[in-house]
């Protein structure tokens, strides 16, 4: 179309020399051991500080268990997260932003039913200023009436936007269908709840729940791990309480009620969301389970992606992965598909679940997921931010940097029998519950015909 005399596709696709062999892998060097300190401050805060001086920055993550069973808790917690950085006794909103900006820094806050997380970074040479701002916010956030009022307005508007996102709609439906009214399901607060939250309630929640004991801070970057602990004792010394941060009540084990078709009239695409109970990283069988999941849908070369995307074109995005919540874990299978492709995609998704147990991965397929598990850990922890995220995920379930260092050996030791056992045990189709959100008028007949599907709004 652009070149008048171009070769044909057949001519382009072959050379005189013909196909060439894949080169072998070279020698792999291990990642350098990183010096770190993992300790608990006098106020009960666990701190993991890791020296990784690749660039002159420090990445910080603060994880605070933040559950609540009050009906207004999700709304109050969301307003708190939106306003925690809007002023202290020492600095107003604009001064906080200016002070962070001048040190190349940032702090953001996010909350869900399980935890409040503060995420930040700054130029390494300015770490004391960064920690001073952070300590000031933790001990002295004032939640001024006018800041609360304005952020409530914005939050109501953002919730409206969020509730139109198919992924939010599907996530809410999945949470309700699998966990009923457990506090874990209240991820996006109701707009009408946000509207009635008062500044007093937000301040009271900060007093009651923004607590160091039971919380974890991770610092990764161009820093001196022991030195920074002393600094934190000083800066965060005033952040103290006898009580511990509030953990989420245990989630019930999933037992696999039927998949629920949730109507969304006129949708051009459906969301398939399946879920089943598994075991967390602390379980001795986790490495085998991890490999079974990768083979199923955990990476691009998985059975699910090759089947429903690369062979059939039903979807752009198909994926399976773990969701860890306070010492428990489930595996989730997600795919977004055109309405016409939805029933066939669910059929193939279940077929691959069954096949994983009956014809488990072995040989090249097993070696591929093994190398991927080891290699992707190397690449994902090669940056400060990536490592900080990994360490936080581990530290919040009681694990540490040691787990990360030892994991490649655990993955290397997994046998084909281990993977086959995990596949059979955890990926049996009937263990999965879930939802399909889509145009029920078109989907209902075919999905019901597949079996183990019911129609309705989640309870």
């Amino acid at each position: 179309m652009t070149s008048a005399t171009h070769r044909s596709a057949e001519e382009i696709g072959r050379t005189a020399r013909g196909p060439r062999p894949l080169p072998p892998l070279g020698e792999q060097r291990a990642a350098a051991d990183l010096s770190h300190v993992d300790t608990t401050l006098a106020n009960g805060l666990r701190v993991v500080a890791v020296r990784k001086a690749t660039v002159p920055l420090v990445e910080a993550r603060l994880w605070i268990p933040f559950a609540g069973d009050d009906a207004l808790h999700p709304a109050t917690a969301e307003v708190l997260a939106e306003t925690i950085l809007t002023g202290t006794a020492r600095r107003n909103r604009i001064e906080i932003d200016a002070e962070l900006a001048l040190i190349g820094g940032d702090i953001g806050a996010g909350v869900d039913p399980e935890r409040l997380v503060l995420t930040g970074s700054a130029l390494a040479g300015k770490l004391p200023t960064f920690l001073d701002v952070l300590g000031d916010v933790l001990t002295g956030a004032t939640y001024a009436d006018e800041e609360i009022a304005r952020e409530k307005e914005r939050l109501v508007e953002r919730i409206a936007v969020s509730r139109t996102q198919p992924r939010t709609i599907a996530r809410e439906a999945l949470q309700k269908h699998r966990y009923g009214d457990h506090p874990a399901t209240r991820e996006v607060p109701k707009a009408e709840d946000v509207a009635v939250v008062t500044p007093e309630q937000v301040r009271a929640l900060h007093q009651a729940s923004v607590l160091p004991r039971g919380s974890v801070m991770v610092l990764v970057g161009d820093l001196d791990p022991s030195g920074v602990i002393g600094e934190l004792e000083k800066v965060l010394g005033g952040w103290a309480s006898d009580r511990s941060a509030v953990r989420l009540p245990p989630l019930p084990d999933l037992t696999g009620p039927s998949v629920l078709l949730v109507p969304r009239a006129g949708a051009v695409q459906s969301q398939i969301r399946l879920s089943a109970q598994t075991v967390p990283r602390t379980d001795p069988g986790y490495a085998a389970l991890q490999l079974a999941n990768l083979a199923y849908g955990g990476y691009f070369s998985s059975r699910l992606v090759e089947n429903i995307r690369e062979n059939k074109g039903y979807t752009y995005s198909a994926h399976s992965g773990f969701e860890f919540t306070d010492g428990t874990a489930v595996v989730n299978v997600d795919a977004d598909t055109a309405t016409d492709a939805t029933a066939p995609a669910l059929l193939e998704t279940r077929y691959e679940l069954g096949r994983l147990g009956q014809v488990p991965p072995s040989g090249d397929e097993l070696e591929s997921v093994r190398q991927y598990a080891i290699g992707s850990l190397l690449t994902s922890t090669s940056s400060q931010a990536g490592l900080a995220g990994q360490v936080l995920a581990l530290a919040s379930t009681g694990l540490g940097l040691e787990w990360l260092n030892e994991h490649p050996a655990r993955v290397a030791a997994v046998t084909a029998d281990d993977v086959a056992e995990a596949a059979l045990k955890y990926f049996a189709p009937k263990r999965f519950t879930g939802v399909v959100v889509g145009d029920a008028a078109v989907l209902e007949r075919k999905l019901l015909a597949l079996g183990d599907v019911v129609v309705g709004e989640p309870a």
């Binding site: 070149s3 051009v268 690369e310």
Partner: protein
């Protein structure tokens, strides 16, 4: 940032090479940037550059369908590709033991990709699903990168939808693919970048082994996409079936990103002064003080800065409540620009923006994938990968007067305003 070691050279077949060794982690990044993006696709073939990007993953002479993904992932690596206005990139990040494999995979598809009718049909379906996911089935899908250009620009290359219309995608043929490949995917039209843990001499040898016999083809003449500046305020309006709140996308033309870098950087600093952080001008006034908008952002480029040659777009996007008239928002915006045009920003405002930029450039450098891609795209667009390491200093040198001049150039009578209207008030279920 001190300039890290950088080796740049060109193979006999015209392939430009950038090597950036760094032994701090045992991983390596490999990318190939081809000098063709969606601005080069012909009329009637919207979305073709992106569709072709998908096809490049579907097999080549030595690699069956799916083999590319399997070989990268079974070496412990990750991969992807992306299509931009003026280039298309392909990349892998892997444990360093897999360097030769990544070079082999990229060379094989540069030499002899398998372009088949079956793979084309399959990837048309996949791309349509991608568009449903990212555009059709979500609020503000394609806003502003698909919806603003047709208001600001009048020529097909600049104005059309780079994701493509379904009819155009469906009418793509295998012969289109062959013509596109032969024209644009020549080694002389590409940049190979290797960053991370490797020995320079060994990498040079491996690159010669794998890419050296990809035959030379002449690089195509690069067209100019220049078009005149708007001489009046251009208005456009779209209905969004999923959006709960109205939105505005405001587009202005910018200085030439390649030939007038320092002026371009002044616009980036201006974007920061306007909307970066609670202390920025528009956040303070429009989000908090008055308040007129829910969220607002400003920036260079449809996907970010340093992604395109001239003409490039300065965008301001915002979402506002129903009850706030859009003319009031625009008037407040123009008032703030006017103030900056009359009185340059303070030194502290500039330092806030440039310190955050310096930190974010460090952070980008720390992620091997973004470092590899930045070096490759700067070599391709600017002919100089090392500019990546001088950006922070060049940005710090931007003067308050230059930022003021940039604000002055954002005139109401030379811009595009795209109005996004929720399709049905109170009923967004469609």
């Amino acid at each position: 940032m001190a300039d890290p070691e950088l080796v740049r050279y060109t193979l006999d077949n015209g392939l430009r090479v950038v090597l950036a060794p760094d032994a701090t982690a045992p991983v390596v990044g490999v990318s190939v940037h081809y000098d063709v993006g969606f601005r080069s696709e012909p009329e009637g073939r919207t979305g073709f550059a992106h569709l072709f990007e998908h096809l490049m993953f579907q097999g080549s002479e030595s690699l069956e369908k799916l083999a590319h993904f399997r070989h990268v992932q079974s070496s412990g690596g990750t991969f992807n590709g992306s299509t931009h206005p003026d280039y298309t990139d392909y990349f892998e990040v892997l444990p360093s033991a897999a360097l030769e494999r990544a070079l082999f995979l990229e060379a094989d598809r540069m030499r002899a990709p398998k372009l088949t009718a079956e793979n084309l049909a399959n990837q048309i379906d996949v791309v349509k699903e991608e568009i449903r996911l990212n555009v059709l089935n979500r609020p503000y899908g394609g806003f502003p990168w698909i919806t603003l250009p047709p208001v600001l620009y009048s020529t097909f290359p600049n104005a059309h939808n780079g994701y493509g219309g379904f009819e155009d995608l469906e009418s793509a043929t295998v012969d289109d693919c062959a013509a596109f490949f032969d024209t644009y995917y020549a080694p002389a039209n590409a940049v190979l970048t290797v960053a991370g843990d490797f020995e320079v001499d060994n990498a040079k040898k491996l690159i010669e082994d794998h890419f050296g016999d990809v035959p030379h083809r002449p690089a195509p003449q690069r067209p100019s996409f220049a078009e005149p500046l708007p001489t009046t305020e251009l208005r456009g309006e779209i209905e969004d079936a999923h959006a709960p709140l109205p939105a505005l996308g405001i587009g202005y033309r910018m200085p030439d990103p390649i030939n007038d870098v320092d002026s371009y950087l002044a616009y980036l600093v201006l974007a920061g002064v306007l909307t970066d952080g609670d202390g920025s001008r528009l956040q303070q006034r429009l989000v908090h003080r008055e308040p007129l908008v829910v969220d607002i952002g400003a920036g260079a480029g449809l996907f970010g800065p340093f992604e395109a040659r001239d003409p490039d777009t300065f965008t301001i996007t915002l979402i506002h409540p129903h009850e706030v008239p859009r003319e009031r928002v625009l008037a407040a915006l123009d008032d703030e620009l006017e103030k900056l045009a009359e009185t340059p920003p303070s030194e502290e405002e500039l330092r806030k923006v440039t310190a955050r930029w310096a930190a974010s450039l460090h952070s980008e450098h720390d992620r091997l994938v973004s470092r590899t891609l930045a070096l490759g795209s700067f070599e391709l667009l600017y002919g100089d990968a090392s500019l990546v390491y001088r950006l922070a200093d060049r940005m710090s040198a931007v003067t308050a007067e230059a930022v003021s001049a940039a604000a002055k150039a954002l005139r109401p009578d030379a811009r595009a305003v795209l109005v996004v209207k929720p399709a049905s008030e109170g009923n967004n279920e469609q």
